[in-house]
Amino acid sequence: MDKPDTKGPAQPSRRRAIARGTALGAAVVGAPWIARFAHAQDLGPYQQGKVNWRQAEGAEITIAVIPASYFDNLIALAPQFEALTGVRTRFEKVPPGQIRQKALLDLSSKTATYATHAADPMYYPLYVSNKWVDPLDRYLGDAALTDRAWYAYDDIIKAWRDADSVDGKPYGIPYDGEVTVQVYRKDLYDAKGLKAADTFDQLVSNAQALNDPANRVYGLALRGFAGAGQNMYIYPSILRAFGGNWGSGGKVVVNSPEAVRALQWYVDVLSKYAPPAVRNWNWPDIADAFSQGTVATYIDAHSSAAVINNPEKSKVVGKIAYARWPKGPSGKRVTSIWNWGFPINAALNDRAKRATWLFILWATSAETQARTSWKFAGPAKRSGVNRVSLWRSQEFASAMKGAGDNFIPAALESLEQDTDVDWRPRVPQWPAIGETMATAIQAALVGQKPPKEALDEAQARIQQALKG
């Protein structure tokens, strides 16, 4: 029997009644389109795949995701998956700060609570070195489990596939992802005759030209908040654009001369042209400020387009344009390779593994990607679809029409040309390294320590982490 099943039957009736009541409430009051949509769509496109979708019928799997509209859309369509496969799904929404912790606890204790979870690509080296997740080439290569022609794995964006692979083997399948791009106010740029920056120097001169704190307009904003997913999300791009790297052969070097120059640049532009509070800002704060018209340019996830174009919140709708990262001193543009992928928990039993794979196949298939994006009946259309063919499609283009000028070209070119799998150090010790670097970067950003000193200290600490 599947492990997750054991929890099911013996629940007190009161709790069940409440659960039922809530589910009903959510369906009726909250989002009537959920119920309508779930049954309206047919399963034909999936059944064209030559896979026995019913092979794990009756299994129940729990999936941990983060609270985000792109997962909400998927959850809304889960009844279709259940109708297709007879596999029951339970979704658990865990805040992004905690999902890694919970997944690590679950994987390391082999509890098999989560069949799969929205995984941080940087964690695969750790997962794989402990054999906590299954290599997925087995599943992809097994004709009983995957119809390769129908599924078209290679259509999934290469940078994201690479990010979810270790030593060439895939361990997670990307569901949703993003690239960092320049986002700017074309009205402000036009008024001064400026163009989107092509180099770091132009980025700085644009920021300088537009910086006007007296009128609450700041030239540039970048994530300053300390965190592996915050300042350590932007800094790697700067480091790589300065020609730096993270060392090689299991060694991690964070205090190279390029690194010091990169961090110095980060400190300088934020202290000169960014809102004073930016050192404590994560990207929602930057997007909020931009949508209020107080920031002229920022570099961050392309998916932030949804926030800055939200008419209920934003004052800058229709004035937004996008461009790729500018070239750094080394001539390189380096964007992020972030994606939320789904791995398979190695502690599951065989049937649950097959059920989980079917779920992953379904969620990451071109059809579900489209159904959670432009075909979605609800208000949020996902902009992080995982396939090149979808990015190039007319339907996606028209769904993203409202995002602003040059949205799809900027993001797609970034995805195809500016990605680099070694954007951040891909080693099992990443969690510790990420946090150490985040602290060091913030120490420099707030002026507590000069960049060189901050990075030297980080290097010493990281050496310890690698030894231990």
């Binding site: 409440i18 609270p67 509890t111 107080t294 939200n310």
Partner: protein
């Protein structure tokens, strides 16, 4: 003379007013925010006058991300943890405060020692233990874990209240041939009513506001409101207005409890402070 007195009163009022304002501002600001639209939340300069909306409350109560089941989870966990804690802490505190038995000091220290570990260090052991006994994401599991920190706290608080009860009262009861338990029930407990009320409220508050254990050891079935509210801060955006509405709803039961028990709290706090001082 009277001028000086007026001045003192005014100064006192000013200091108290300032203190109150500092304390109340975030709460009032959250209250205002909970009635704003997202656009008004971000407005600069901040708006004090705006068209209030109930949408945020409608959404957090009846919308797709309703926190009603989470409020229920919180209520069940906090109430069960509080009742069990008090059931054990009252006799436990009495024993530590009054009785003589072997290893009393050691056991008192042991109870306190469990409080000395940083809770974050305990999460993983707790997770593993609960996993072994099937207690993850269950009410029983979470309540059991809450007892580990609420019990020592409650026992030690109760000890101080029991120690305040004049020994003579108990001796008189014992002389009148009341047994230990009867004396405890009829004579001592009425004397520490205030202390029981204060302890109960603190234990309940701690359990209600707990986040760290709840987020790791809970799950889909048992998800207290503190964890659910966190989901309004998503990776995409922070829904400030809904977060504020959720916070207001989560605060309401505690504030009601506070108002209801205010008399006891104030009495209990002062009594605990001046040891052996006045009569109650």
């Amino acid at each position: 003379m009277s001028g000086r007195r007026t001045f003192r009163r005014l100064a006192l009022a000013a200091v108290a007013g300032f203190g109150l304002a500092v304390w109340a501002f975030p709460v009032l600001w959250a209250l205002l925010t909970s009635f704003k639209t997202e656009r008004d939340v971000l407005a600069y300069p901040p708006k004090f006058v705006f068209v209030p909306t109930l949408d945020n409350y409608r959404e957090v109560l009846f919308g797709a991300s309703s926190i009603l089941p989470n409020l229920w989870s919180s209520l069940v966990v906090a109430t069960a943890a509080t009742l069990l804690t008090m059931l054990i802490a009252i006799p436990g505190g009495y024993a530590l405060g009054r009785l003589r038995y072997p290893f009393k000091r050691a056991s008192g220290f042991y109870v306190l020692a469990t409080q000395m570990l940083p809770p974050v260090g305990l999460i993983i052991p707790y997770y593993l233990v609960l996993q072994k006994v099937g207690g993850l994401d269950t009410y029983a599991g979470l309540v059991a874990i809450y007892l580990t920190f609420s019990l020592p706290f409650a026992i030690w608080l109760m000890v101080s209240y029991f120690e305040d009860v004049p020994l003579e009262m108990e001796e008189a009861a014992l002389l009148d041939r009341a047994g230990r338990l009867r004396a405890l029930w009829h004579v001592i407990l009425p004397q520490v009513r205030g202390g029981i009320a204060v302890t109960t409220i603190f234990v309940f508050l701690n359990a209600w506001n707990e986040f760290m254990f709840a987020v790791v050891l809970g799950g889909n079935r048992v998800r207290p409101v503190t964890v659910a509210m966190f989901n309004f801060i998503s990776v995409e955006q922070t829904q400030w207005a809904r977060l504020a509405a959720g916070a207001m709803l989560a605060m309401a039961p505690v504030i009601l409890l506070g108002i209801f028990a205010q008399r006891h709290i104030v009495k209990g706090l002062t009594v605990g402070a001046v040891k052996g001082g006045g009569r109650r």
